[in-house]
């Protein structure tokens, strides 16, 4: 199994280590519930160094990315990022990712840990067939770069002190907290530089920091000690999963795969059908016009029950009740104290309020299709 540059830190903090996408990662340090609630109420620090990074640069980079990714990269000013997807010709999702425009002709792609090899192979294949391939440089920087996410409402109280001074790349800001949602900037740090974006996978305000692997431990330690007086806890993949499930962010391998389209997954907003030709466009355009045959819904258990889990059958209710789908992600919601999840069902069952049942160990328990996100921040 692969280890991130923060492996020794996780051991020292008593992290409970599990295998995830070929990596040995902390699932929790003390308690998934406590770590989850720390992120909702204060701050949590996550190692996300297992995520992959690809750099795409050159005069042809924008055109190359725009025919390979579903969102429109031309909308990105320098120092901005967007959520996007990479599809095959059938409109199936090869990966979902964030693309940042670091400089006029330089883009950073943050890709899923489990998809690094598949993504890089796909990008290389597409690049070889790209007419202007001599004007594009593709570099897999996944091994050289580490990353951490620091998430939660109180992060703004201490992050400026961790990376002092104004930015020296990307969006021009005087301090980290001047970054707006989806903006990215570089800051001098430890004789090197780090890229900080105002993004995350938790539904909370927060930042993600990408840095060379050899300084990521210094980055972690800086955030960890600065956050101590602001309620920060180290948080593992367990909390990362419950946090993203509550706010209905898809996870590759659960909600997304090569046989599922962004339209079916409910992320059609990130498919720019009007930008011109791109891989998967014709299938996605047709599906958007005619409607997909399955839709990803969020649901909440109606009563107290065992938590729903991936692959549990979803049933319709009443006379003629039948199996209509399968749970993609499911868990006990630490914020709501009930079982929640997402799953694919035929569109006629996708309306909010539709009663459904989740089969848990042979018994069906009542649930209801819920609006996304399942968890909303209290006003």
């Amino acid at each position: 199994m692969k280890h991130t540059p923060l492996y020794a830190v996780h051991q020292k903090l008593g992290g409970k280590l599990i295998e995830f996408g070929g990596w040995e990662m902390p699932v929790q340090y003390t308690s998934i519930t406590d770590e989850h609630l720390a992120v909702r109420k204060a701050a949590g620090l996550f190692d996300i160094s297992h995520m992959g990074e690809a750099l795409v640069s050159g005069a042809g980079a924008e055109a190359f990315l725009n025919q390979t990714l579903t969102n429109d990269v031309r909308k990105l000013a320098v120092g901005q990022g967007q959520y996007t997807l990479m599809c095959n010709e059938r409109g199936g999702v090869i990966d979902d990712l964030y693309v940042y425009r670091l400089a006029a002709q330089e883009y950073l792609l943050i890709i899923n840990a489990s998809r690094i090899e598949a993504d890089v192979a796909w990008l290389e294949k597409q690049l070889a067939a790209f007419p202007r391939h001599t004007e594009v440089r593709l570099q897999n920087a996944s091994d050289a770069l580490g990353a951490v996410a620091v998430q939660g409402p109180r992060v703004v109280e201490f992050i400026d002190g961790c990376f002092p001074g104004s930015s020296n790349g990307g969006t021009s800001v005087a301090r980290v907290t001047d970054l707006k949602k989806n903006q990215v900037a570089s800051f001098g740090f430890a004789g090197d530089r780090v890229w900080v974006s105002r993004t995350g996978y938790t539904g909370e305000d927060g930042f993600e920091v990408v840095a060379p692997g050899q300084i990521i431990e210094t980055v972690w330690n800086q955030l960890f000690s600065a956050g101590q007086t602001h309620g920060l806890k180290p948080a593992g993949l367990g909390a990362r999963d419950t946090l993203r499930t509550e706010v209905c962010y898809p996870l590759y391998g659960h909600e997304l795969d090569e046989d599922t389209t962004p339209i079916e997954a409910g992320v059609g907003f990130f498919v720019a059908l009007d930008k011109g030709e791109f891989i998967g466009r014709s299938v996605l355009a047709e599906q958007k016009a005619k409607g997909p045959s399955k839709k990803l819904v969020a649901f909440k258990m109606t009563d107290r029950s065992a938590p729903p889990r991936p692959h549990y059958p979803i049933w319709s209710t009443g006379p003629g009740a039948a199996k209509i789908g399968e749970v993609a992600s499911g868990t006990q919601s630490p914020s709501l104290g009930i079982g929640v999840g997402m799953g694919y069902v035929p569109p006629r069952f996708a309306r909010t309020g539709t009663p459904i049942e989740i089969e848990i160990r042979g018994k069906r328990a009542p649930a209801v299709v819920a609006p996304k996100p399942i968890y909303r921040k209290p006003d």
């Binding site: 409970k16 699932v27 929790q28 998934i32 419950t242 889990r309 006990q332």
Partner: protein, 128 residues
């Protein structure tokens, strides 16, 4: 370090048994609750159910996983702890008293001899 009371018997699969006459109380160990992490759901057997040693008799679920609990002994269930069903966190906070699962009238008390002592169980979980 996990708490392993000396007055209990233990199963290799991390259940404890407290015997009083011909009735045994069954729960899961401190080590088990720690490994399972925060429990969010507990299912206990119905009163009156006949159970054989080794049967799945209860289910516990954490945020992350579901785990079966196996009965260390055979008999008929005489009581089930509805408090842990209502508040699964009791199993984490108090595994040996408030966090018990069920009481069972032993049909084969000789099975108790096959269970582990506190010392043996401690050795198994690596905490001598």
């Amino acid at each position: 370090m996990a708490n392993v009371p000396t007055d209990l018997k233990y199963a290799k699969s991390h259940e404890w048994v407290r015997v009083a006459g011909d009735v045994a109380t069954v729960g899961i160990t401190d080590h088990a609750q720690h490994e399972l992490t925060d429990l969010v759901f507990v299912e206990v057997p119905e009163v009156g159910r006949t159970i054989k040693a080794g049967d799945v008799c209860a289910v516990v679920e954490s945020v992350k996983t579901a785990s079966d609990i196996y009965s260390p002994v055979s008999g008929v269930v005489t009581a089930a702890n509805t408090l842990v069903v209502a508040d699964p966190a009791l199993v984490n906070s108090d595994p040996y008293t408030a966090g018990w699962f069920y009481k069972i009238k032993l049909s084969n008390p000789a099975e108790l001899n096959a269970l582990l002592s506190a010392e043996q169980y401690k050795a198994q979980i690596g905490g001598a």
